[in-house]
């Protein structure tokens, strides 16, 4: 154990003070925080910029109900055609023009012309106002009074309440979108860390082999001790970096929230709809759900509502064992590689299960109880990612337990077999790896 400790300390100390490691520990959280903060910042800047929008209304009625919305200021342009307006568009100083054609009653379509990007909130707002007014007009035609329309106008909010198989309520506040975001992020982070640090083990083994240090080392320590010390050392370095990433990312995001967004950000409700919806603002989010900005908003809000203890402890478990499984495989492979140029061709086949799970992440998140998600979360080579993607949606305990047991067992088998290969491989130079050789090494003893 003492020798494993010595190797562990060396692996940690050498890597912890590497410039690239320190740089990535700082840049990683900055980049992650930037993904959250920058869209919000842009949104804030955008909100402060008033945009002038012209309305050319060929119906002479529908344009009247379009009121100023967020940072959009609407002006109805009288006595002009779209073609005339287009010719003088530059001189007019408008940022966009909403063209309501007279055939809107049959075509149900209007067009926004602009030289700038039109955000989804404006499209949703114009669409909502015109649809509502067209419906009103159609109903009025059918002799339904305004009062009746307002009385019967009943927006329906569809909520989801989670309960157990026994029918007991579970208090959950996080929406499915937020859960999906958390699942995606957790799975991607685990993929990145398992892959990044697994490959670091591979490179470490190759460095010792090609640098011809390994023979001196194995004359002092057992190959298993060398492999174990290296894997544990690099894994610890990875875990430290992960913790630094989480702490720094949260600090930066919260710091940015305090400094840049003193009031917790909530999307501005559509003015005309607010009254009728009352407190059920959820459907507003649905209107805007596909925008990048909303992804950031959801993420921002999700941070507040997640049970981070469960997520982090599961993350640490699946990270440790997922890493141990892949790191032991990488160590065995590294032991047979003589030079760096051969590395890539061996890395890809090993990481195919990881990449496959990443490709299927969308399916897992869309249907966390489906067959694909279920099987991938039990197969040890894919379970670290798949189970992390399923966890935010609620997974039966026995699923987690079974997945964890299979992973631990596979890890042990992988470590034992990898140690055998490692012991032989590190002393072989200039020999091609043949399946037959590997099998004969594994069968020996």
């Amino acid at each position: 154990m003492n020798k494993i400790r010595l190797i562990f300390i060396r692996e940690c100390s050498v890597r912890l003070r590497k410039r690239s490691y320190i740089l990535m520990s700082i840049l990683g959280p900055l980049l992650l925080a930037a993904i959250v903060v920058i869209p919000l910042l842009l949104k804030k800047i955008d909100k402060n910029t008033v945009k002038q929008v012209a309305i050319i209304d060929e119906t002479y009625i529908l344009g009247e109900t379009i009121k100023n919305f967020e940072n959009y200021r609407f002006t109805i342009i009288q006595d002009t055609t779209l073609e005339d307006f287009r010719k003088h568009y530059k001189a007019s100083g408008y940022d966009a023009v909403v063209f309501i054609p007279k055939n809107i009653y049959s075509s149900n379509a209007c067009i926004i012309y602009s030289h700038v990007w039109i955000d989804n909130a404006l499209k949703a707002y114009i669409g909502y106002v015109l649809r509502r007014d067209l419906e009103y007009m159609a109903l009025l035609k059918e002799k339904v009074t305004i009062e009746t329309i307002k009385r019967v106008s009943t927006p329906v909010f569809v909520g989801v309440q989670k309960w157990t198989k026994e029918g007991e309520y579970i208090d959950e506040e996080i929406s499915m979108t937020k859960k999906s975001n958390i699942a995606m992020i957790a799975a991607i982070i685990i993929y990145l860390f398992v892959f990044m640090y697994g490959v670091m083990v591979l490179r470490g083994v190759i460095e010792e082999k090609t640098g011809r240090v390994v023979e001196i080392l194995v004359s002092s320590v057992k190959p298993f001790q060398l492999m174990a010390g290296k894997i544990i050392g690099i894994g610890t370095v990875g875990l430290i970096q992960f913790i630094v990433w989480i702490v720094l990312t949260f600090s930066i995001v919260y710091g940015a929230q305090v400094v840049l967004f003193p009031e917790t950000y909530t999307p501005t409700p559509l003015p005309e709809l607010q009254d009728s919806l009352g407190n059920n603002n959820h459907s507003l989010l649905q209107l805007q759900s596909d925008t990048n900005v909303d992804y950031a908003i959801n993420l921002f809000q999700a941070i507040d509502g997640v049970n981070w203890t469960i997520m982090l402890s599961s993350f640490v478990f699946f990270f440790i064992f997922g890493y141990l499984l892949y790191a032991s495989l990488f160590a065995a492979i590294g032991a047979f590689i003589d030079n760096d140029s051969e590395t890539q061709q061996f890395v890809i086949p090993v990481t195919i299960p990881l990449m496959l799970t990443l490709f299927l992440l969308g399916n897992i998140v869309a249907n966390p109880s489906g067959d694909i998600a279920l099987w991938l979360s039990f197969i040890p080579f894919t379970s670290p990612i798949a189970m992390m993607a399923r966890l935010p949606f609620g997974v039966p305990y026995w699923h987690v337990l079974l997945s964890a047991c299979i992973l631990i067992l596979t890890c042990l088998i992988s470590i034992i077999l990898s140690a055998k290969l490692y012991r032989t491989g590190i002393l072989l130079y200039g020999k091609k790896i043949r399946l037959q050789t590997i099998i004969s090494i594994l069968m020996k003893n």
Binding site: V14, G211, V213, E215, I216, S219, T437, S440
Partner: protein
């Protein structure tokens, strides 16, 4: 006294026999040369001694006790293919290898400083190994092998990469370690070093031990009856009255002195030969030609190969 005794060690790799029932007796406190052509099995033998590999059969005893895993700290090893961690500082690196051999941090630090000063390279302590010249790195590797004061030191081609001055420094250190009682196993192709340093040798060829013994005994064993004689007198009489059969390999006559290189095909006592020369003239110079290790090595390996071919 025997330090290490290797008895009938056999090691196979797949279908290749690397060592075939090899037995060696390595005297304690001596320098033991392990010789042989490339691929003979020397490195396998060394790896078994350092417990990197386990033999398929046979036993190894250290001071008459079976070699145990804990004995690993008694060994120092400088492999032929050696390197250092390029990104690690020299001092840190030496201390790391010392700690792996069981030295305490304080002890390792003291010894590290001692050796760096001794080799006059203490200014490199805080440099990365990758910044050093090859020769400098070799010195660091040598320090790493001996820092924990091993009882048995195995050196595989210790002089490769050294210039003559540094090679001499290392040579002196090896002799010094021997004086302190270290048993040294030296594997090298440099036969001059073998003659200069080794007390005894073993020659391995094609997985088998061919010869083993003290350097002087082996030289004597392979010495042929070739003499270099310089004398003034009656050369013809000397040859005519020589009772044993002979072959003149070389003959030079200069100012009444004759120098011959003569091989006697029958063994006769040296004194008889000297007496015979004295009856024919005055002896100026007389010596028996003893083969050097280089010649013995080539002879033995060639003979061994031709024997195998005939078999």
């Amino acid at each position: 006294m025997t330090g290490i005794s290797i008895q009938n060690i056999t090691k196979r790799f797949s279908h290749t026999v690397a060592l075939n029932s090899v037995s060696l007796e390595i005297p304690q406190g001596s320098i033991y040369g392990l010789l042989g052509p490339n691929g003979a099995g020397k490195t396998t033998c060394i790896r078994i001694l350092t417990q990197i590999l386990q033999p398929d059969s046979g036993t190894i005893t250290l001071y008459n006790k079976n070699l145990e895993p804990d004995d690993i700290t008694k060994f120092g090893y400088l492999p032929e293919e050696r390197g250092l961690y390029k990104q690690m500082y020299v001092g840190e690196q030496i201390m790391y290898f010392a700690s792996l051999k069981g030295m305490s941090k304080i002890e390792a630090k003291q010894e590290c400083n001692f050796w760096l000063q001794k080799f006059n390279i203490e200014q490199w302590k805080h440099k990365k190994a990758g910044e050093l010249s090859k020769g400098m790195q070799q010195k660091i590797q040598f320090i790493c092998a001996i820092i924990h004061k091993p009882e048995i030191l195995i050196l595989d081609e210790p002089f490769s990469g050294f210039d003559p001055i540094n090679a001499d420094i290392i040579k002196q250190e090896i002799l010094q370690l021997k004086k302190l009682g270290t048993t040294i196993i030296l594997s090298t192709h440099n036969m001059n070093s073998v003659e200069e340093l080794c007390d005894s040798i073993a020659l391995i060829n094609a997985s088998e031990k061919i010869i083993e013994g003290s350097v002087s005994a082996i030289k004597k064993q392979f010495a042929k009856n070739i003499y270099s004689i310089t004398f003034s007198g009656y050369y013809d009489k000397f040859l005519a009255t020589l009772t044993t059969s002979y072959k003149i390999l070389e003959q030079i006559q200069n100012n009444g002195e004759t120098t011959i290189l003569i091989e006697l095909t029958e063994e006769i006592p040296t004194n008889n030969l000297l007496t015979h020369i004295m009856t024919c003239g005055n002896i100026i110079d007389f010596s028996q030609i003893i083969p050097n290790m280089h010649d013995i090595f080539i002879d033995v390996v060639k003979n061994s190969q031709s024997t195998k071919l005939h078999e």
